[in-house]
C-alpha cells in the first residue's frame, strides 16, 4: 500500500488489463506498408480484441468460464452473437465487413 494514499491519490497497483489495452492496441506508432500484418488487419483485430476483453472481464465478474460456449471464441462457428456485433461495429466504422450471414 502506497504512502501516497495519504497524499490524496492511489498509485502503485499492478497495471489493469484495460489500461494496457487502451495503449498497446490503440496507440503507438503504426508502421504501415512494411509489416507482415497490414493496418487494416490490425484495425479489424482491434475491434475483435475489444469484444473479447470486454466479454472476458464481464464474465470473470460473474465467475464463469467465459470462453466456453462462445461461438466466436471456442470454434470457427462464425454465427455467434459476437460475430454479429463485430460485423455491426465494422460497418459503423466504415470498414469492410465480415461476410454477412444470409438470413433468407
Amino acid at each position: 500500500m502506497s504512502s501516497r494514499e495519504l497524499e490524496g491519490y492511489r498509485s502503485g497497483q499492478p497495471a489493469q488489463l484495460a489500461d494496457v489495452l487502451e495503449r498497446v492496441l490503440d496507440k503507438g506508432i503504426v508502421i504501415a506498408g512494411d509489416i507482415q500484418i497490414n493496418l487494416l488487419d490490425i484495425e479489424l483485430l482491434t475491434v475483435k480484441i475489444r469484444l473479447l476483453i470486454a466479454s472476458a472481464d464481464k464474465a470473470r465478474e460473474m465467475g464463469i468460464d467465459w470462453w466456453e460456449g462462445d461461438a466466436f471464441l471456442s470454434k470457427r462457428n462464425g454465427q455467434g452473437e459476437l460475430e454479429e456485433r463485430l460485423r455491426k461495429l465494422e460497418e459503423a466504422a466504415g470498414l469492410p465487413t465480415s461476410p454477412k450471414q444470409e438470413s433468407g
Partner: protein, 281 residues
C-alpha cells in the same frame, strides 16, 4: 484465401522480427545493452541502425502471419500473454532508455526490412524520440463513490438540501416518493458535477505536465471498479514527476470530500505522445 501477389512468398519455417519500439542508440546500447548482455531480459534483440535501435524479438512467422494469426488471436490466453509481453518489454526498456512504442503486432519479415525502416524513417523517429526523451507517460483515473457524493458534495445544492428535509418529514407512501425525488436530484447534480470535475482535473494536470489528453472513460467491466469512472487521462511528464504528483495530490485532497478518488498509473512508455502515422516515405 490467397496471398496478395505483392507480398513476398512466406517462408513457413522462417523467423520474423517483432518490433516493440525504437530507442536511441546512445542510451539504449550502453545501459539497456548491458542489462541484456547480463541476461536481465530474455529473448530481446537490439538491432542498431545508425543512431537508432530497434527493440525486437524473433518470432515465428508461421505464428504471426496469415492464415495462422487470426486463428491465434482467438486463443485469448495467447493473446493476453502477447499483449502483456509487449507492454512488459517496453516497460523494461523504459527503465534504461527513452522509447517510441510501436503498436501491438508490428512484425517485419526480415532483418533487412527492419533495418531499412530504421534508416529510411530516421528523421521522423528521431523527432518522436526527442519529444519523449527524459519523459514518461502517466495515467490518471478518477472514480466517484455515489453514496459519498450524495452525503457530501450534493448537499451544496439548495434543492437537494430542501428535498432531504422533505424525505425526513414524510411518512408511508409519500416517504417513498420523496426519497425517489431526492435520488433524482442527486443524480442530476452528479451529472453536472462529472463534467465539471473532469474539466478541472484535466486543466490543472495539464498545467503540471508537458502535454496531456483525455482518454475514453472505461466501463466498470473494464476498469474492474464498481465506482463510476468520471475521468481518464494520459499525461507526458518529466521522468522525476515531482511537480505533477504535487498537483495530483492537491487535487486528490480537494476532491476527497466530493467522493472522488484519484488513481495514478504508470510510468508508461509514451504511447499517447508519439505520432500514430509516420507520414509518407
Amino acid at each position: 484465401m490467397t496471398t496478395p501477389a505483392a507480398t513476398a512468398p512466406l517462408r513457413r519455417d522462417g523467423l520474423g522480427w517483432y518490433l516493440y519500439g525504437v530507442a536511441a542508440a546512445d542510451e539504449a546500447s550502453a545501459r539497456l545493452g548491458a542489462g541484456l548482455a547480463a541476461g536481465a531480459v530474455q529473448g530481446i534483440d537490439l538491432v542498431a541502425e545508425g543512431p537508432l535501435v530497434g527493440v525486437t524479438s524473433r518470432v515465428s512467422l508461421q505464428e504471426f502471419a496469415e492464415p495462422a494469426l487470426p486463428e491465434r488471436l482467438r486463443d485469448t490466453t495467447w493473446l493476453e500473454q502477447m499483449i502483456r509481453t509487449h507492454e512488459q518489454v517496453l516497460e523494461r526498456v523504459l527503465e534504461d532508455a527513452s522509447v517510441v512504442p510501436c503498436r501491438f503486432c508490428s512484425v517485419y519479415r526480415s532483418e533487412a526490412e527492419l533495418r531499412r525502416f530504421l534508416s529510411e524513417r530516421r528523421e521522423v523517429l528521431q523527432a518522436a524520440l526527442d519529444r519523449v526523451r527524459g519523459r514518461v507517460e502517466v495515467g490518471v483515473k478518477a472514480f466517484i463513490d455515489r453514496d459519498r457524493f450524495a452525503a457530501g458534495r450534493a448537499r451544496q445544492n439548495e434543492d437537494v438540501r430542501q428535498q432531504e428535509t422533505q424525505v425526513s418529514s414524510a411518512e408511508g407512501g409519500r416517504a417513498y416518493l420523496e426519497r425517489r425525488r431526492f435520488e433524482q436530484l442527486v443524480a442530476s447534480e452528479l451529472e453536472r458535477f462529472r463534467g465539471e470535475a473532469a474539466d478541472r482535473l484535466h486543466t490543472r494536470l495539464l498545467a503540471a505536465a508537458e502535454d496531456g489528453l483525455a482518454l475514453p472513460l472505461q466501463a466498470p467491466e473494464l476498469s474492474g471498479r464498481e465506482e463510476e469512472m468520471v475521468f481518464n487521462g494520459a499525461y507526458l511528464v518529466t521522468a522525476d514527476r515531482g511537480a505533477f504528483e504535487q498537483a495530483l495530490a492537491s487535487l486528490g485532497r480537494d476532491f476527497r470530500d466530493d467522493g472522488v478518488e484519484l488513481e495514478l498509473t504508470g510510468p508508461w512508455p509514451a504511447y499517447n505522445f508519439v505520432p500514430e502515422e509516420l507520414g509518407a516515405e
